[in-house]
Subunit: 113 residues, 2 copies
């Protein structure tokens, strides 16, 4: 049985799941896609999300070039987070996950949400 090729093909799958997996990452990305730019603004747009987790996730997303971070100096310091064009390439992936999940729920529970 040939495993090596298929197993190494899973490294990219792992990478993707690391980037969009977890409890908050997609939520944060969508909030930013929707136009939320500032730290507090994003935080308040997602109920129960803590500053600690948000801070960490934003760093990860910046590293992965999904968002840009710009510090604007002014009265209270403001930071602007913006989605990159590149981040949009994730939309197809997320849509695929969404479609499969929606169909799956119908199959398993015989009803939708």
């Amino acid at each position: 049985m040939e495993h090596k090729e298929c197993m190494s093909a899973l490294l990219p799958v792992r990478d993707t799941l690391d980037i969009i997996g977890g409890k908050w990452k997609i939520l944060i990305l969508i909030s930013i896609w929707e136009g939320n730019k500032h730290f507090r603004e994003i935080e308040r747009s997602i109920p129960k999300l803590s500053t600690k987790v948000l801070s960490k996730e934003l760093k990860d997303m910046e590293e992965n070039q999904l968002i840009t971070r710009t510090v604007l100096n002014g009265f209270p310091v403001r930071t602007e987070y913006r989605p990159t064009e590149y981040s949009k390439t994730l939309q197809k992936v997320i849509l695929e996950l969404q479609h499969w999940g929606a169909n799956h729920r119908k199959k398993i529970f015989g009803r939708e949400y």
Copy 2:
């Protein structure tokens, strides 16, 4: 800012990630797709996978109708795990994750695996 609709659209995304996320689920599914049928066979096909985790994941996958489980009585008891036709609907999703991840690695590190 309209959040409610987009946030509820994420429930299916969560469902899908619960089903294919984690360290072993996709590996196990692929092993079964490849033709491995028996518990020990699947276990041995995936280095470092323990019986405990395999046992749990197989149960989850059976609940989600991705595999069927049949007990064959014979000398050493044998169990047959088979992929369902339905499980194949995940291939498109997994391929999407794989493509995005492969392209992402090129973008971030400038090289492939």
